[in-house]
Amino acid sequence: MPKRTDIETILVIGSGPIVIGQACEFDYSGTQACKALREEGYRVVLLNSNPATIMTDPETADRTYIEPMTIDSVEKIIERERPEVILPTIGGQTALNLAVDLAEGGVLERHGVSLIGANLESIMKAEDRDLFRKAMQRIGLKLPASGYATSVAEAREIVKETGIPAIIRPSFTLGGTGGSVAMHDSEFDRQVEWALKQSPRHQCLIEQSALGWKEYELEVMRDVADNVVIICSIENLDPMGVHTGDSITVAPAQTLTDKEYQVMRDAAVAIIREIGVDTGGSNIQFAVNPKDGSLVVIEMNPRVSRSSALASKATGFPIAKIAAKLAVGYTLDEIRNDITRETPASFEPTIDYVVTKLPRFTFEKFPGADDVLTTQMKSVGEAMAIGRTFKESLQKAVRSLETGHAGFDPPNIPEGQDALEFLWSRIDTPRPERLWAIAEVFRRGVSVEEVYERSAIDPWFLRNLEEIVAFEFALRDLPASERVSRLRSAKQLGFSDHRLGELWGLSETEVRSLRIEAGIVPVYKRVDTCAAEFEAHTPYLYSTYEDECEANPTDRKKIMILGGGPNRIGQGIEFDYCCVHAAFALSEAGYETIMVNCNPETVSTDYDTSDRLYFEPLTLEDVLAIARLEKPHGVIVQFGGQTPLRLAMALEREGVPILGTSPDAIDRAEDRERFDALLGQLRLKRPPSGIARSVDEAVGVAARVGYPVLVRPSYVLGGRAMQIVQDADSLRDYMRFAVEASPEHPILIDRFLADATEVDVDAICDGKLVVVGGIMEHIEEAGVHSGDSACSLPPYSLPKRVLAEIEDATRRLALEIGVCGLMNVQYAVKGEDVYVLEVNPRASRTVPFVSKAIGRPLAKLAARTMAGESLEALGFTEAIVPSHFSVKEAVLPFLKFPNVDTLLGPEMKSTGEVMGIDSEFGRAYAKSQIQAGNSLPTKGCVLVSVRPEDHDRIADAIAELAEMGFQVVATEGTARTLKDRGIEVAVVNKVREGSPHVVDAIESGRVDLVINTVGPDPSAVKDSFSIRRVSLMKGVPYFTTVAAGRAASGAIRALRAATIGVRSLQEIHRS
């Protein structure tokens, strides 16, 4: 069937900010969908609140709305843009839930708009667990025994049927938020309560646990003619009980016979038909009993998903792009397969390699968070690797993950603990790094059978791991003279040069020399959807150690771009955005572009983004091998965050040309001593500081610069292990922890500037000219990591003189360092004084935000300057100060981590960001809060409990709220000051003063807004912990800094003054 001609305009809904469970895979799918729809001549209107996406680039859609993802915004957009249809299936759970709300709220009917991709009925059937169960019963498929509860009492009835352990799954949440496994009766009530709270429908499923069963996923597509294809089968290495996003997953399925696989395939086809997903992709999960093959259906997502992004990268079949084309009426056989060109999309990809995905966790950022893996997703990113065998792909995935492992090195056994006991504790209960513990028990002679008994990980995976360990033993025992003879086999098993060096007591470089001398170098095979049955026209490549190389490098002038690897807190989609822009810009400038990355969620790893894609780990070994083969004109290391930057020096030493700012210049900004000299030379101020390599040295430096001090290890991103320390004792504690965390790097100690305002600047320099892209004033005061702080562009309160000084300092820094490309500088402004905090001569997290705020693509411009063009030639010679305000707000993952304090500090914790744009700062800030899930009230009750230093500073804001009719409740000290200012205040007990206290007030639902600040004193932090946690749980907007509280009251005033409108980026930047 040809495409629909009754449609002109399509509204596409994105997935909003990056959160755990919903990351940049939806930028990938959304961007693909928008591109595909525009290719077909449709006018695409996009709503997505996340500025850090390629999807929200003004070039991706005809109209781009970076606006709150609410019914209200959508209705306003519909009124302005008049779309005939909405595509809600490529924006994750966020888009799907919004579509349901729009349908149920009558918005669709009111405006005569319909859904494409999936209709309301099928969304409900798939998402509402009760309807889903009934649908499965109709077609004769089984689900685990279960029942729905809307109260703890109902849940108790149901658990009598299912038994303990039982799985608790809240309805309508993403990434399994609120889900858990009840292992004991004693925890059951509390877990149900938590789940009910998390469900927007206050409903949860209590389900018989299939713990220990094997878990599978099928990616299914269907067209309007009812053709159904399975794009990929995925087998989870971690059995049931661990969320699939936190599981190690492998494609294709490994331990099913064809008969068993086809039973599952038949079931999947029947399910997509019964649920009635007319067009597009779905993900269906199954559990299989390893003892007798029994099959149960776990769930279905009637939309593209994280797994579909993985399946797209794993097979080369672009699910989201095809899904978009199917949604407008095409059938699979009418769409060409891009890779083979000659065959249609109506086939099932087959692969001749193994794909392994490993999740990336950041528990170290959330002290107190439980690192046991359950049905609620906790990982923040993932790495994928391709190898010809599972062993090869697993070991490549391990080094892609960048968690300090070059292979299966032995884990550290805590002192004084029995080794086996410790290892079993890491195996019996799923936690990150379980495989390392398993490898170690194999080393200690434990059998596969025993590990299987205790972990329920399929013996097939275990035996493969055992083979790796056995091979390590054999390698280690080899006489030096025989090493080379086994090197090729070792590389075929995926061993890295680094790991071989560990085994042989050699450096990585020594192993590499040995290897290259013996002529053992990788070849590259193509990912082609068809196992080489047809010729592949897209150079989507992965390395292996075999005979034939299919890379066929060209002799064009080419530039290689190194990506950012797996997402983590502090290094995520923003950097991928920059890499993608570099690829686009350099392609426009006539270069061949080569992307290297291992993150399957991203746009950068779409084979369409660059001319050539190497899906490879970002280690020196793997990057060097590609560089030696491709011989690029230059390599861009500035855009992918710390990951590629860390390789810069070594690559340069190996003769690989680095584009843009030289590695030495980067070092000059990163190395504290050289940096201090630089600042001295430029006569720029910075907070007194020093470097320490030992505990005593640290105490000495701190005494000299004066407490409080900001301490952190050097060369870190996202403020890892950064802390504000008040005294020598705390400093000693910190040093013990931090130095252990990174023994080879010194500790930086800075005087902490309390109550200063932080400022972020992004600028571009071509060597001669420096143009400031944007100056961002942070809302939260210094001390809160810039990634977690809201900020405003242009600054909303700083005086002109200060801004001029900042601009001047930025210019001088860039020229002196010799920046070529992007640079980010952080300043602190205290009173009239401007201090330089740090300079990063590379792309920063704020580049996409700034680009969207000013309407110029900074990363693209920077890439072209790095390739040798001048800013003048590119037409970017002057800073743009927009007339509207853009506010960036951070989105935090605290909901996923019970028992973790929500206080912000110098260590970054946010996973994503949103952007509010309006002509007035207050409204822009209000929009950003709505988008961040912190929707501001316009009336009601504000609860204030701030530390003594803040009493006076918050008073104005509270007076303003009171004047607007807010009822004010405060704890005693705060109340006294407010009363003195003539504000009417009700006093409420602090928690330690006994009930009814401040937390009871929040719990009761009487409070609409919370402002709570706390000093550094740990007991005060502990005391007020429940205020913040309960606010979060109850969904009450809360602010933990005075500055944010003030901004909030201003925003509330703005909200009361006028209703919020929507505007597209294209309109905003029309001039």
């Binding site: 159904v228 099959l295 059938t331 109506s346 087959t350 001749d352 034939e548």
Partner: protein
């Protein structure tokens, strides 16, 4: 834990074009020649090993991890291994599956068939894709690892063209078949009851796969399987309601003594052919067959039903195809009902006036998706309506009339 450097026995695969691949031996210690082809199925290696259609062929699996699920008695498609040699990237020796009763290695050893592992199978596949199917020799005999000698031998090896392999794989005597599907597993989609009334079927065994028989049993057929050389007269003496022509190996044009019988039977009884059976029907109707460059072997092929427009993802395994033009030239009122969307090969035929139809691919799957299983239902309908005295043509059924 076994020592990782346990010695591997050498194996060598030599192609007629002079290419040689050195790897590790598994299976039997021997030397075999055959036409080298590749199969793109991700699962179902045991079914492939035991598919009689692979007689005379050395099969390379494009998927790289083979042996993971071992072997079991239920998944055999015939009484033994039929292919001449087996080529894989990595063979896994410790099967992990609840139904496994043996290993791939043991299975091939018992069958006397050699296997080679550890070679760049993708390079081999690309060579076959670009250069076309060709003869090869696979040696796991440690005494016979000389590349030149093996290449010379490969050049002398008979190809598939002009060879009647059916005579080698067909049953020696007729037998009845009544076994239906495997017991299956708890949680699978509900199965249909076998329909009534029962119908009598004579199935010509050109190398028949068991799953075809099982599917026919599930459609209510009582089956007598007969050797390929069974005369039309003898077949009709069994008083069948319909005739089935099975899959089988090799060059359809070289199969002797069958075409004429099929032509006679086609005048009397409803008839359905699969794969080689389809090609033989095409030949019997006056058409011709041609050799494909490297054939279709895999479980992911798009087979489009031209009447409904629907695309079945299907299992295919053929190196020859019916030539569409030759059929038209022969003047027989035959319609092409199915095509492979990758290269427009003829995949299905139906007669406009007589109750005959056939399909090139494998609706019985095994291994492969079940999308095309509807052919067996069509065959039942054709047989039943004919038996009830209706004048129904193969094309009527194909077009839903």
């Amino acid at each position: 834990m076994k020592h990782a450097f346990s010695p591997q026995k050498p194996a060598l695969l030599a192609l007629a074009d002079g290419t040689v691949y050195r790897g590790h031996a598994f299976g039997a210690e021997t030397l075999e020649s055959g036409e080298v082809c590749f199969n793109t199925s991700l699962s179902g290696y045991q079914e492939i090993l035991t598919d009689p259609s692979y007689a005379g062929q050395i099969v390379c699996m494009t998927y790289t991890q083979i042996g993971n699920v071992g072997v079991n008695p239920e998944d055999s498609e015939s009484s033994r291994v039929f292919l001449s040699g087996f080529v894989v990237k990595e063979r896994f020796e410790a099967p992990s599956n609840w139904r496994a009763t043996g290993t791939l290695d043991g299975y091939l050893r018992e069958a006397g068939v050699p296997g080679i592992a550890g070679i760049d199978t993708r390079a081999l596949v690309r060579r076959i894709r670009d250069g076309g199917a060709q003869s090869g020799v696979l040696s796991t005999d440690p005494a016979s690892q000389d590349a030149d000698a093996l290449v010379a031998r490969a050049r002398k090896a008979p190809g598939l063209d002009g060879r009647d392999l059916v005579a080698e794989v067909t049953c020696k005597a007729a037998y009845d078949w009544s076994e239906g599907h495997w017991p299956g597993i708890s949680g699978e989609l509900p199965r249909r009851e076998r329909p009534n009334p029962r119908l009598r079927l004579v199935a010509y065994d050109f190398g028949i796969k068991r799953n075809i028989l099982r599917m026919l049993v599930e459609e209510g057929f009582d089956i007598t399987v007969v050797p390929a050389a069974t005369t039309a007269e003898d077949a009709l003496a069994l008083e069948p309601d319909a005739i089935f022509l099975s899959n089988g190996p090799g060059d359809p044009a070289a199969v002797e003594g069958v075409r004429e019988n099929v032509r006679i039977l086609a005048e009397h009884k409803p008839m359905f052919g699969i794969c080689l059976g389809h090609q033989i029907l095409g030949l019997a109707l006056g058409g011709q067959t041609r050799k494909l460059k490297f054939g279709h072997h895999g479980g992911n092929q798009p087979g489009k039903d031209l009447a409904t427009g629907k695309v079945a993802i299907c299992a295919e395994n053929h190196g020859y195809a019916v030539d569409a033009d030759s059929l038209r030239e022969a003047g027989e009122p035959v319609e092409i009902t199915h095509v492979n969307l990758n290269d427009d090969t003829v995949e299905g035929l139906a007669h406009r006036t007589r109750p005959l139809f056939s399909v090139q691919y494998h609706p019985e799957a095994s291994p492969g998706p079940h999308d095309a299983a509807y052919f067996f239902g069509r065959f039942r309908e054709l047989t039943l309506r004919t038996k009830q005295g209706q004048a129904v043509a193969g094309l009527d059924i194909a077009q839903g009339r």
